[in-house]
C-alpha cells in the first residue's frame, strides 16, 4: 500500500473548486502528523465532496446525505485502537440535514474530525441554498439572494463541547489548521469556506470569497481550543445475567384448580383500578401466588401511554395446563377498585354471564350477568392498597388458592415493607 494519501490522479472536482484544495491540504496535514493511509477512516456522504473517497488510499466509508457524522461517530465509538483517526467530510448541505448529528457528536466528544466543505449551496442538485448560505448570496433557485443569515456552525459546535473548532478560508495552505484538528483527541471541526465555481461564482460574479465571509460575520479563526478530551467507549464486561437463581419461584403446593367458565380449566381474572394504585403489582403477585400453587400463569397489563394517570387494568390467567392464548376473553372474575377501572372494565363485565365481580362499595354496579360482591376496598385500606385488598378478598371469598400462598407471594415483594399482609387478613376476618 502506498504511503501517499491521494492516488496519483486528477481530482474529480470542477476547475477552481475548493474541494480539491481541501483534499490536498488533508493529505499534507496527515503527512505532517506521520500517519499511514490505513490509520485513517475517511467517511463521506452525498454531495460533490463525497466523490473524493475514490481518490483516497485510506479506508473509505460512503454513506447517506447528511448522516456521515453519525456514521463516523459509530465507527469512532466502535474502534478500540486509539491510533485510528476518523475524518468526516461533509458539505454545507449535509451539515444542514445532519446538524443534530454534528452537535451530538461534539456533545459526546467522539474522537473524530469533521471537515465542512462550505461552498454555500447544494451543488450536486443544482445550487439550492442551504442553511449556510449567507444573507444576500444568490443561488440558481434564489436569484434575489438568500433572505436570512447563515448558521455559525463553529459557535454552535464550540458551545456543544468541541475541543478544537476553527474556520479557515479554503485557499492556499491551511494544512496546519487541519493537522491541529486531526491530532486532537476528542471532537474537532474545521469549517472550510469556499464558493462553488459552477453556481456560486456564476450568480455572484462581483463577490470575492473573503468579502462574502466577512459580510456574513463569520470570523476565520480558532473558535474553540480546549485541552484534548479523548473519548473511550464504556465497555462493561461480564454483566450479570438478567435471570438469577433468586427469580425462581418456589412451588409450595399442588392445587387442584376449580375450572372457571372457560373450556380448558383456565381461570381468568381481570383487575381494574387506577394508575398508581398497585393494580399491576397486585395482579403480578396473584399470578406468582398461582405459580407457588403449581399452576401456570400469565399476566398482562393495559393502561394508557401516560402511565401515571387514568385506568390501570391487568388480566391474570391461571391454569393447570400450559397457557397459549392470552387475549381478552370473558373473565371468570373481576376485581374493580376504582371509577377509572370500572369505566375500562364495563364492557368485560357486560360479557360475563356468570362468575363474580368484586366491586368497590363506592361504585355503581355495571350491567352484568355475574354476581356482584361489594366491599369498601378503598375506604378500608386507602386507594393505594385497594388492589391488594381486592386480591386477598377475592381469594378469601372464592377459596381458589389458599390465602397463605398469596401472603407468601406478597411478602416476597418490597411492597410488604410498606404495608403488612396482616392488615388485609384482619379485614377479611373482621
Amino acid at each position: 500500500m502506498s504511503n501517499t494519501f491521494i492516488k496519483d490522479q486528477v481530482l474529480p472536482f470542477c476547475k477552481g473548486c475548493g474541494h480539491s484544495t481541501i483534499a490536498i491540504n488533508t493529505e499534507k496535514a496527515l503527512t505532517k502528523l506521520g500517519m499511514n493511509p490505513l490509520d485513517v477512516i475517511l467517511v463521506t456522504d452525498i454531495g460533490c465532496h463525497g466523490i473524493i473517497d475514490k481518490s483516497f488510499n485510506t479506508h473509505t466509508v460512503h454513506g447517506l446525505h447528511g448522516r456521515s457524522v453519525a456514521l463516523g461517530a459509530g465507527i469512532s465509538a466502535g474502534i478500540t485502537n486509539p491510533d485510528k483517526k476518523v475524518i468526516v467530510f461533509i458539505g454545507d448541505g449535509g451539515a444542514t440535514i445532519g446538524m443534530q448529528h454534528i452537535i451530538d457528536a461534539a456533545h459526546n466528544g467522539y474522537n473524530m474530525t469533521v471537515v465542512i466543505h462550505n461552498n454555500m449551496l447544494y451543488g450536486m442538485t443544482g445550487g439550492q441554498p442551504s442553511e449556510y448560505t449567507p444573507m444576500g448570496f444568490k443561488t440558481p433557485t434564489k436569484l434575489s439572494g438568500s433572505t436570512k443569515p447563515s448558521y455559525d456552525i463553529c459557535k454552535i459546535v464550540a458551545a456543544a463541547g468541541g475541543t478544537y473548532v476553527r474556520r479557515v478560508m479554503g485557499i492556499g495552505d491551511f494544512s496546519d489548521a487541519l493537522a491541529e484538528a486531526f491530532g486532537r483527541p476528542g471532537f474537532s471541526l474545521v469549517e472550510v469556506m469556499e464558493i462553488c465555481p459552477s453556481y456560486g461564482v456564476k450568480f455572484n460574479p462581483e463577490m470575492k470569497l473573503s468579502k462574502v465571509v466577512e459580510n456574513a460575520g463569520l470570523a476565520t479563526e480558532v473558535i474553540a481550543d480546549l485541552p484534548a478530551k479523548p473519548y473511550a467507549t464504556d465497555r462493561r464486561e461480564a454483566l450479570p445475567s438478567l435471570f438469577s437463581p433468586s427469580d425462581v419461584i418456589p412451588a409450595q403446593a399442588e392445587i387442584r384448580l376449580q375450572a372457571g367458565t372457560s373450556t380448558h380449566g383456565e381461570l381468568r381474572i381481570m383487575m381494574c383500578g387506577s394508575a398508581g394504585e398497585g393494580t399491576q403489582v397486585a395482579a403480578e403477585l396473584l399470578a406468582r401466588a398461582g405459580i407457588r400453587a403449581g399452576l401456570h400463569a400469565t399476566k398482562k397489563g393495559s393502561y394508557p401511554v401516560t402511565v401515571g394517570v387514568g385506568f390501570s387494568a391487568a388480566e391474570v390467567i391461571l391454569s393447570p395446563d400450559e397457557i397459549n392464548y392470552t387475549g381478552t376473553v370473558t373473565p371468570d372474575y373481576m376485581i374493580i377498585t376504582s371509577k377509572d377501572g370500572l369505566d375500562f372494565g364495563r364492557k368485560a363485565a357486560g360479557r360475563m354471564k356468570s362468575g363474580k365481580i368484586f366491586l368497590d362499595e363506592s361504585l355503581e354496579s355495571p350491567a352484568t350477568g355475574a354476581e356482584i360482591i361489594r366491599f369498601p376496598f378503598r375506604e378500608k385500606t386507602g386507594a393505594r392498597n385497594a388492589s391488594f385488598m381486592g386480591v386477598f378478598y377475592f381469594l378469601h371469598d372464592t377459596n381458589l388458592l389458599p390465602v397463605e400462598v398469596m401472603v407468601d407471594s406478597f411478602n416476597e415483594n418490597k411492597i410488604s415493607k410498606k404495608v403488612s399482609a396482616d392488615q388485609f387478613l384482619q379485614l377479611l376476618t373482621a
Binding site: L38, R235, I249, K300, I323, Y325
Partner: protein
C-alpha cells in the same frame, strides 16, 4: 426416570430476547426508547457490554452501521414509528452489507396509532423496506421458546450473510408475563463469525462461493476497506450502472435467496387427511394453537403451519400449501399482509384470511372460519 428440577420464573419475553442475544455474542445495543419495545431497551441497558442511548432512530441505525464497520454485531429494538425513520439507513446498511439485528415490536398503527395496543401490521413495511424490492430477512417469534432460540439465529444469519435482519414480534408477546420453566430453555450457542482470510489481495465486495463477501473491519491496517451505500462493484467504489456494479447489486438479493435454506424455521403440525391448512405467525400463534386443538377435539381435521422465517417467503411454504384445498391465514391486521405477500391481491377462493385490529384474534374466530370452509 429422573425428573429434571423445575425452575419456574415469571417473566416477560423482552427479557428472554435480550438475554439470549447477549449470550449469543451481540455486544452493542443502540436504541431510542419506544413503546412497546421499551422493555428491550431497559433490559439491554442492564445487560449489553456496550449500550448507547441514541437521540433518534436515524442516529440509531447510523451508529449501528458505524459499529458494524468496526467489526461489532449491533442490535436495536423499535416499533413502527422508529422503524419508519430507520428505513433509509437500513437500505444503507443492506447496500454496505453490514450485519445487525433490528427487533421490531409491532403496535397498532398507522402513524402513532395506539402505542399500548398490539398488532401485526408491519410485515408489508418490512417486506417493502428496500428500494427495488430486495429481500430483507425477517424472522418472527411465536412462542416463549422462539424468544429464546430465534434471536441467536437472527444474529447468526446477519453475521453469515452480512445483512440487517428484522426480528419481528408484537406488544402482547414481549410485554405479557408468563410462568416459564428455565430448565426448558436450552443453552445459547455463541454466534460463529464467518471465517475469512485474505489470499492475495482484498476486494471489499468480491463474493465468496456463497455470494457473501469476506468482511474486514476498518480497525485493521493491512488491507484497504471501502464501504459504500452507492452502486458499486467489488472495489467498493461508486460506479455508474456498469454491468459489474449492477451484478453486485443483484447479488444482494441472490446471496439471501441462495442461502435461505440454512435459515428456514417453521413449525408444521400436519394432520393426516386434513384438507385445510391454517397458517399463522407471531402473536396469533397462541389463538391458532388453541383453535386447532379445540377444532380437532370436535372431530374435525386441519393442519397448522407456524411460519418463523417470514421473509423472504421460502418455496417450502408453497409446497406445503399445495397439499390443501383451503389455506386460512390468521394475522392481526386488517388487510391480510402475509396473505397478500404470499398470494397477491387477487381474490382466490382457496386462500382465506382471519383478520382483526385493536385486539388479539380469538380462537373462536379462527374456529368459525375453519368451520365455514370445511
Amino acid at each position: 426416570m429422573m425428573m429434571k428440577k423445575k425452575q419456574i420464573i415469571f417473566t416477560d419475553s423482552s427479557k428472554l430476547i435480550t438475554e439470549s442475544l447477549v449470550r449469543a455474542g451481540a455486544d452493542v445495543f443502540i436504541g431510542y426508547p419506544i413503546t412497546p419495545a421499551n422493555l428491550l431497551y431497559a433490559y439491554s441497558e442492564r445487560r449489553f457490554p456496550i449500550f448507547f442511548a441514541a437521540p433518534d432512530e436515524i442516529t440509531t441505525l447510523q451508529w449501528m452501521s458505524g459499529f458494524a464497520v468496526a467489526g461489532h454485531l449491533p442490535v436495536t429494538a423499535t416499533s413502527f414509528p422508529g422503524y419508519a425513520l430507520m428505513i433509509e439507513s437500513i437500505n444503507m446498511a443492506y447496500m454496505m452489507e453490514l450485519p445487525m439485528v433490528i427487533v421490531l415490536i409491532q403496535r397498532l398503527g398507522p402513524a402513532t396509532g395506539t402505542a399500548t395496543c398490539g398488532a401485526q401490521g408491519d410485515l408489508n413495511v418490512v417486506n417493502g423496506t428496500l428500494s427495488g424490492g430486495y429481500p430483507l430477512p425477517c424472522l418472527s417469534m411465536s412462542s416463549i421458546s422462539d424468544c429464546w432460540e430465534l434471536p441467536p439465529k437472527a444474529l447468526q444469519m446477519a453475521a453469515d450473510l452480512r445483512t440487517p435482519v428484522v426480528l419481528l414480534s408484537s406488544k402482547e408477546e414481549v410485554m405479557t408475563y408468563r410462568s416459564i420453566d428455565m430448565s426448558d430453555l436450552g443453552e445459547v450457542q455463541p454466534v460463529k463469525k464467518p471465517e475469512f482470510s485474505v489470499k492475495d489481495s482484498y476486494l471489499p465486495y468480491a463474493p465468496a462461493e456463497n455470494l457473501v463477501p469476506g468482511f474486514l473491519p476498518v480497525t485493521q491496517d493491512e488491507y484497504q476497506v471501502r464501504i459504500t451505500a452507492s452502486t458499486h462493484d467489488a472495489t467498493g467504489i461508486i460506479q455508474n450502472t456498469t454491468p459489474a456494479a449492477l451484478g453486485n447489486t443483484a447479488r444482494l438479493s441472490q446471496k439471501i435467496r441462495k442461502n435461505l435454506d440454512h435459515y428456514l424455521y417453521y413449525d408444521y403440525d400436519r394432520q393426516e387427511g386434513a384438507k385445510t391448512l391454517l397458517i399463522t405467525y407471531g402473536i396469533t400463534t397462541q389463538a391458532a394453537a388453541d383453535a386447532i386443538r379445540d377444532y380437532r377435539e370436535s372431530g374435525n381435521k386441519a393442519s397448522l403451519l407456524v411460519m418463523k422465517t417470514l421473509l423472504p417467503v421460502h418455496a417450502k411454504y408453497f409446497e406445503i400449501c399445495n397439499d390443501y384445498d383451503h389455506v386460512i391465514i390468521a394475522e392481526e391486521n386488517l388487510e391480510g399482509e402475509l396473505r397478500k405477500i404470499m398470494f397477491g391481491q387477487a381474490d382466490i377462493g382457496r386462500v382465506i384470511g382471519v383478520n382483526k385490529i385493536g385486539q388479539m384474534i380469538e380462537p373462536g374466530e379462527i374456529i368459525k372460519t375453519l368451520e365455514d370452509h370445511e
